[in-house]
C-alpha cells in the first residue's frame, strides 16, 4: 500500500512541478518584458560598463576596447528570439529607402514560401507570416525614419511575425540542405526533427547552426563579436561566412545577442 501511495503522490508531484515551472516562467517573462523593449533605443556601447563590477577587468577592458570600434548598440529582449530579432532589425535597417534591395529580398521570400509548401507546410499559415513580413518590409521602401522601424519591431505582433518567418526560412534552408548540415546535429535523428524542436518554435534560442543557415539562406553576411571571460585582450570576432565582409554586427555575450554598430 505504501508503495502505491508513493507512486500516486509522485504522479501529482510531477504535475505540480510542471505547474510551478510554468508559473515561474510566466513571471520571468513578464519581468523581462517590463525591463527591456523588444529592440531598445540607440545607446553608447560603453554604457555596458555599468553592468560589470570594477574588479571585472576582463569584461571591462574588452568593452572599452570594443567601444572604440563600435560606438553604438541596441539591446534586445532576452526572450530566446534575440538573435533573430537583432538580425532582422539590423537587416531591415540596412534596407531602408532601398527599393531595389527590398525587391530582391521579396523574390527570395517568395522562393522560400514555395519551397516550404513543397516541403508540405500548410500554405495557409505560411502565407499569413509571409504577408506580414512583406507588408512591413514594403513600408521601408521610401523612408529612412528610424522611428518607423523601431515601431515595427516593438509591436510584438509584427515583430514576432517577422521572427517566425525568419525561423521558417532557416528551417526550410536546413531541410533542403540537410546532407551538409546533418553532420552538425548531435541529438536529433533527422533535420525535420531538429527544425521542429529547435528552429521553428518561438523562444527557442539560436546556436551556430541557425546563424550559418540564416546568413547562407539570405546571402547576408553577419559578424558576431564574442564578448566573454576568455583570456584574450579583445572580444573575438567571427564572420559568417568566414571570408565575408559583413555590414551587420551582433554582439554575443553568453546566452544573449544584441545589435552593435561599427563606426
Amino acid at each position: 500500500m505504501t508503495s502505491e501511495t508513493n507512486q500516486e503522490f509522485n504522479f501529482y508531484e510531477d504535475e505540480l512541478i510542471d505547474e510551478k515551472i510554468a508559473a515561474q516562467q510566466t513571471a520571468i517573462e513578464k519581468e523581462i518584458a517590463n525591463e527591456q523593449k523588444l529592440v531598445g533605443d540607440l545607446i553608447e556601447l560603453n554604457t555596458l560598463l555599468n553592468e560589470y563590477l570594477a574588479e571585472d577587468t576582463v569584461y571591462r577592458s574588452k568593452i572599452t576596447e570594443l567601444s572604440e570600434r563600435f560606438r553604438y548598440m541596441r539591446k534586445t529582449r532576452g526572450d530566446g528570439n534575440c538573435f533573430f530579432r537583432a538580425f532582422a532589425f539590423r537587416y531591415f535597417e540596412t534596407l531602408m529607402g532601398k527599393p531595389d534591395e527590398i525587391n530582391k529580398l521579396k523574390d527570395l521570400v517568395n522562393k522560400f514560401t514555395s519551397d516550404l509548401s513543397q516541403l508540405g507546410y500548410n500554405s495557409f499559415t505560411v502565407d499569413d507570416f509571409k504577408d506580414v513580413f512583406i507588408e512591413e518590409l514594403e513600408k521601408l521602401n521610401n523612408t529612412s525614419d528610424i522611428r518607423l522601424l523601431e515601431e515595427i519591431f516593438n509591436n510584438s505582433g509584427s515583430s514576432d511575425y517577422i521572427v517566425v518567418f525568419l525561423r521558417l526560412i532557416v528551417s526550410c534552408y536546413l531541410q533542403n540542405n540537410s546532407d551538409f548540415y546533418l553532420a552538425f546535429l548531435e541529438t536529433y535523428q533527422s533535420m525535420k526533427d531538429f527544425c521542429s524542436h529547435e528552429v521553428e518554435p518561438m523562444y527557442r534560442e539560436s546556436d551556430h547552426i541557425h546563424i550559418i543557415a540564416l546568413t547562407n539562406a539570405l546571402e547576408i553576411p553577419v559578424g558576431i563579436i564574442y564578448l566573454d571571460r576568455a583570456d584574450q585582450e579583445k572580444a573575438t570576432p567571427h564572420n559568417f561566412p568566414d571570408d565575408s565582409n559583413p555590414n551587420i554586427f551582433i554582439l554575443y555575450r553568453p546566452g544573449h545577442y544584441d545589435i552593435i554598430y561599427r563606426n
Binding site: M1, F9, Y12, A22, N122, F124, V164, E200, P201
Partner: protein, 284 residues
C-alpha cells in the same frame, strides 16, 4: 463584433474562421458569436476505431498571443478517451511540454486530436482508458449531444462520412504521430455540467490505473486518514471533490498520510526487531 484588426491574432483568427466556415466531414469549428478567442468544435471519431460513429463536441481557447502560443482544447462530450471539462494542450511529441509551432493552426489541432483518439491513454492526466464496449456505447450516445452554449447538435452538424475523407483521415493519423495532447493546468474554471452529462453512468471502469481510478484511491486514502485520527470532517465526495479541490491541499494531505504510514511502518519494524532481540518482551 468589432475587433482591433491591427492585432495579428485577430487577423489570423478571422482568416481561420473563413477557411473553416464550411463543415468538413471530419470536423467543424467556428468562433463563438461574442468572442473570437473561444471557438466551439465538433469532430468525428476516427472510423476503424472504438470511436467510429461517435461525434464529439468541445471548446477551443485561444491565448492572446496566438499563434505564438498554443490553443487549449476542452472536450464536452464524453468519449472514454479524454476527460470532459478539462483543458488539454497539444505539443510536439517526445519533448518539452508546450512546444507548439506557429505554422500549425486550429485545423491542425483538430485533425491531430482526431488522429490522437485511438492512441493509448496510458494513465496520462486527462486521459481515460475505457474498454472498447464502453467507448462504443459512448460513441452511440454522443450523437444525441446538444451544446447548451452554441446550440450545436452533434447529429446535425457534420456531413455524412464518405470516401472523400480518406485522405484527411490519413493526415489526421500522420499528425497524431507528431503531436501529442497533454492535460494542462487550467487557470480558468471549466463550466461544470450536470454529473449525468459529464460522466457516463452505470459504466464500470476496467482499469484502475486510469486517472479516475487514481482519484478514487486518493479519496479512499483521505477517508482512511480521517478514520485513523478520529477526526470527522465532511464527507469526501469521490471525483468531483478531488477534481475541484486545489491540488496543493490534496498534496499536503497525501504528505501527511505518507508520513503517518511510514511512521507506523517504522514503529512496527522497530517493535519487531525489539521482539526478536529480547525474546520475551511481553510474556503472555
Amino acid at each position: 463584433m468589432s475587433f482591433n484588426t491591427r492585432s495579428p491574432a485577430v487577423k489570423r483568427l478571422l482568416k481561420e474562421a473563413q477557411e473553416l466556415s464550411q463543415s468538413s466531414e471530419l470536423f467543424y469549428a467556428q468562433p463563438l458569436e461574442d468572442n473570437l478567442f473561444e471557438w466551439h468544435f465538433t469532430i468525428r471519431g476516427p472510423p476503424d476505431s472504438d470511436f467510429d460513429g461517435g461525434i464529439y463536441h468541445g471548446r477551443i481557447l485561444l491565448p492572446a498571443e496566438y499563434p505564438m502560443k498554443p490553443p487549449s482544447i476542452i472536450l464536452l462530450t464524453p468519449s472514454g478517451r479524454f476527460k470532459v471539462n478539462e483543458k488539454i494542450c497539444l505539443s510536439i511529441s517526445g519533448h518539452h511540454p508546450e512546444t507548439w509551432l506557429p505554422s500549425w493552426s486550429i485545423r491542425t489541432a483538430l485533425l491531430a486530436l482526431i488522429g490522437f483518439m485511438p492512441t493509448l491513454g496510458e494513465g496520462a492526466l486527462g486521459s481515460l482508458d475505457y474498454t472498447t464496449d464502453e467507448r462504443k456505447a459512448l460513441a452511440k450516445k454522443s450523437v444525441s449531444y446538444t451544446c447548451s452554449v452554441c446550440k450545436t447538435q452533434n447529429s446535425e452538424i457534420l456531413p455524412e462520412l464518405t470516401e472523400k475523407s480518406n485522405e484527411q483521415c490519413a493526415e489526421a493519423r500522420e499528425l497524431a504521430s507528431q503531436i501529442q495532447f497533454k492535460n494542462s493546468k487550467s487557470t480558468e474554471e471549466p463550466k461544470r455540467q450536470s454529473a449525468s452529462e459529464s460522466e457516463p453512468s452505470g459504466l464500470v471502469r476496467r482499469n484502475i490505473t486510469d486517472s479516475d481510478g487514481q482519484s478514487i484511491n486518493f479519496a479512499n486514502n483521505v477517508n482512511r486518514n480521517e478514520n485513523l485520527s478520529h477526526q470527522r470532517t465532511e464527507t469526501v465526495r469521490v471525483e468531483s471533490t478531488i477534481r475541484q479541490s486545489s491540488r496543493q491541499s490534496l498534496d499536503k494531505i497525501l504528505l501527511i498520510i505518507l508520513f503517518a504510514l511510514s511512521g507506523l511502518f517504522l514503529f512496527l519494524l522497530l517493535r519487531r526487531a525489539y521482539l526478536i532481540v529480547d525474546k520475551e518482551p511481553f510474556s503472555i
